[in-house]
Structure formats: structure tokens, C-alpha cells
Subunit: 247 residues, 2 copies
Amino acid sequence: MSSVTISPITNLPEIDPTSDLLTLLAGSEPQLREGDILVVTQKVVSKWENRLVRLDSVTPSRRARDMATKYDKHPGLVELVLQESQELLREEHGVLISRTHHGFVCANAGIDLSNVDGGETACLLPKDCDRSARNIGTALSERLGFHLPVIVSDSFGRPWRLGITNVALGAWGLAVLLDHRGSKDTHGLEMKATVIGVADSLAASTELVVGKTTGYGAALVRGYRYVKDCESTVNSSVRPWFQCFFT
Amino acid sequence: MSSVTISPITNLPEIDPTSDLLTLLAGSEPQLREGDILVVTQKVVSKWENRLVRLDSVTPSRRARDMATKYDKHPGLVELVLQESQELLREEHGVLISRTHHGFVCANAGIDLSNVDGGETACLLPKDCDRSARNIGTALSERLGFHLPVIVSDSFGRPWRLGITNVALGAWGLAVLLDHRGSKDTHGLEMKATVIGVADSLAASTELVVGKTTGYGAALVRGYRYVKDCESTVNSSVRPWFQCFFT
């Protein structure tokens, strides 16, 4: 019987582009061990990668200005949402639901003003979240001397259910999906549609320790027997745009 | 710094309607303690509640027979999916996506043939999953002498992302959602759209120990400081049918 433990990483200060994030994570409290999975919030990664834009530095288009007036939003923020999106899917209650250039469907293209500087600066998602996870994972694996999978997480809303939950935006070092199709259940019946969203389940579990209001920006998961895979990406588990339902 | 631990409950045998599930859970391994949250899979609850239907006992309608032929499915299974649904939303790759009478949007109305008896018998979702959680939670709380929140979980597919993750179908004893709107972030900015899906995050975390192929049907979460609430339900966190996107 194996338990899984999720712990917040408590030694991260406010991160900015000059922070030595890798040294901070290599010396994390609690200390990372072989077998752990590191989950870092997008906010930490985005700040470190300087994905910060002052709203008053943005020149909004006419469309952005019109939408900003309609929804009582900052025109610079609306402009950034449009720039970060490949497709605007819906405007609802002033929330813009779009598909980002990564392929994620989320509110406001994942752009957030909270936990930055009080509302003047927008924090964009990392440009390539799998690459961010790979950069952090490979560097930390080398420093620590063991393989350390890394997930970049963010909290997204879902259709049909209230409440946000954490999902994986990027991953490196482990199989993002576990495909049980073709294997047998406990009664010997072949399972036909069982692909487990491993990276998303890991990301979701860290919501329990990395709250919006706690300020913790990373967590480690210990005891989960992941499948090592250095080529698996979240990007490849995002459905093509035309597949808007699930199979 | 508080960690959260998720452990599979390892002493549950195959459950059927004659099982003494409450006694088994009250004497669980590991033993439940005050502060824990119990997550029971829908499969265990459904079997205990005798939500089992032999496929050859079902009389399929013409519509069910036609769909069964088209998708190479058992007509009895298709009939059950139609009966358990208030609305069929999509037929895709032979998977029927519907909205169940509970309001859940999922594949095959949540009906499953796996881990039952090898394919002859369908396992339906509990009729009222919040009531199931309440029944188990109140009974166990009385037996154990402390408050024990209970979540009934199942693994659902999601739009836009491959892979299933666990969600809460029913809950009792804790706040299913945590509404941070109006509170301040770490920089003093008021958070506008932060409602955390607590029950879903708890359910998702148990995917890490309650795998489809392990046969474990329940798990406990230890160390998460939930908000006690005996009126909060999953049902009230399911969006109205016309709200098909998120806010």
C-alpha cells in the first residue's frame, strides 16, 4: 500500500526575472528527493520568464477598446487577451473565453492580474509551457543528481461545473497520459476507453496545498509511481480545436 | 507547513448489495481519523446500492436498437444510457455524450461495464450521489465519533483535454466550493473570479492512489483543512444546462 503526499514548497520568495529560481528549488523546503514530482504554478514560471506587461504600456486596438468599455475592463488587458488568443470563443458575464495560441481553452487567455503588483501589471502564460517545464526539470535533475519530473500548473474553470481546479499546462519527465486501453480490469474485461490524465491529476492534487491565498507557488508530490518519459508533453494531450467534445 | 496525504483504503473486498460497507469503512485500513476526508468511488457505491442491471434484462427501444447497430454496442446498454439521460448531446466515435438526470455531462451517462462481472452487467451511477455521500458520511460519523466528510467520485472525460480525471459526483460534510471572491490576494488586490472547486480537487487527488487497474475503491485524504458544511452539495455546483461555458 503506497500513500502519496503533497507538500507545499515553502522557501520561495516573491519571484521576479532576476530570481535564481533554480537554486531556490534545488534547495527547496522540504528538500526534493528522488521519486518526487515538482509542480510549479504558472505564476511563478511566468514571472521568472518575465511574461509581465504593464497595462498602460499596451496600445489597444479599436476592438479591444470597444470590448473594454462594454465589460468595464482595462483596454490594455483586453488587447493582451486578444493578442494571446487564436480564437475568441465566448464573451460571458464579462469573462472572455478563448483558445490561446497553446490551444488551451480558458478565461482571459490565462492572463491574470492577481498576485502580481496590485492590478497594474498583467501576467501572461509562459510562451511554451512544456518547454518551461523541460528547462526547469532538466536543470534541476542535473543539479540534484536524480531525475525530477516537472509540471507547470494553473487553475482553470471548466464547462458544466462551478469552481476552478488545477490542470497541467506543461510537463517534462513523465507520461502525461496513461493509456490503459487493451489492458484488463479486475474481472478480466478489456478496458476500451481508459486513458488517465496523469499530469492533470497531479496538478489538481496540488490545489490542496497551493492555495490562491496562501502564496505558495510550488509543491512536490511524493510517492506517486510515475512512468518516466522525457518526450511526453501536455501540448500533445490538448485536443485538436475541432474536437470540442471528449471521446 | 502542512502536507496532505492520500492513501488507498486497502481492506475493501468486492462490494455487492449484501456487503456491510459501513462496517468495512469504519474499520478501514488505514484507520480513518478525525480531520480525514473519505473518497469512495462511484463503482463501490453503485454496487452497494444495487444500481446493477443485467444487459439481457433490458428491452431496448427502436432508437436504442438503431444506435446499437450503428455503433456496435449492446442494445441494452444503449437503452440504459438513454434512460439515464435527460439529453443526448453528442454521438462521437461511438461514445454517447449526454447530460444525466443529475445534470452531469459525461460519456455513456456514467454507465460502465468494467470492473463489474466481465461485461454482462451494467453499473449505473447512484440515483442521488449527494444523498449517497450523506448516508455514508452521517452513518460513519456516528460510528466513529467524529465528523467525517465523504465524497463520491468518478472519472470523467473533459472537453479540450485528453485523459480522464476524477471529479466529485456527490459530497457531504464539507464546502464543495470555496469562494474567495472579495478577499485579497498576497498583494492586496481583490480577487474577482476565484471560486475553488474543492470537492473536485480532492476527488482528482485520489486518482493517484485509486487506479482503474489497482482495484482500490476508496481513499482517504489526510491533512487538508476543509471547511465543515453539512448543506453543501455537488448538485448545486453543477451549472444549469443553459450555461454551457464557464464564468
